[in-house]
Amino acid sequence: MNTKTVVAKVALEVLVAVDLAREVRGGYCSDLLSDVLAHAKSGDLWITHQRHLNVIAVGKLRDVAGVVFARGLCPSQDVISRAVAERMNLFLSTEPAFEVAGRLHRALHP
């Protein structure tokens, strides 16, 4: 499913949209960046509460389709600027991570 469709189905707010045609293949939930580095897969939509700047580097290294900040935890401007520079889709949801992941799972596995 492409990112644009996922954004609509999961009701995500778009913070940075660089490639909404990108295929979302799955999801990954973690706030522990070493865990994401080890286990997230290319094409995952990554749901997190972690807002450190390293999120962008880790997301790029794992080639995730985008990052969703859950529970309305909007990242700072330097994170957003870095996402633009590194071409990383960023999204925000006011919903808790559990709800975001549930919606994503339903969308990908109807």
Binding site: L33, S34, V36, L37, Q50, R51, H52, L53, N54, A57
Partner: protein, 252 residues
Amino acid sequence: MRWWRADLHIHSILSPCASLDMSPRRIVAEARRAGLDLIAVCDHNAAENGRYVRRLAAGTPVVLMGMGIQTAEEVEILAYFADEEDSLLLETELQNSLPDVPCTPELFGDQVVVNEEGEIARRVERLLLSPVDLTLSEVVRRVGELGGLAIPAHVDRVPGGLLAMLGLFPEGDWPWVVEIAPWTSLSDVYEAWPGLRGRPILRGSDAHYPEEIGRAWTDLYLAAPTLDELRAAFRGRDGRAIQPGPELKERQ
């Protein structure tokens, strides 16, 4: 100059996760038993018991003021100060920024300030294990402004280790120095994080129980066991050196 043995990561009874036996008096006794020349008490977002440990130790061992700060990212930073007032000022700032979550002793343990007489000076109501409302870069900057040294604790360990939590080193020259856990071997840490090569590495006991004090240490080649000398050793000035002790064989 000579070698001094240091354990710069000891929790006291003020950390809810530490034993009730970790009173200032007991910490001093155990540090002497372990032959330590220099120690620091690093409670979670708290420094107060350090001053009682320092008074009781009366120079044997030398006591740096310390703190283990939980940043907003939940990274644990060890902060060291020469001066009591600087560390206590930071403690107040940090504790005022903690979420209003009470420490339920049955669940988390007690958070008690104990003076040199062994009396309870006060209990801290808010849970000290919570992260403060400052990001990692804000914590590092504030510690520096107050004349302290900020070092990431047990970088490879969950919870709280910088590299475990954030995956990679942050941008910039900080941290120049890192602490590793008692069980981490230098070869493993270099293999997992090649960026650590060439950086000074401290090993601390992260003691939560009296018998753990001095179970892991760092030897420091300094003119005197002071914060300024430690700072000079971090840059390898004039032959000063830092040598972490061996790792513990079994994770406890």
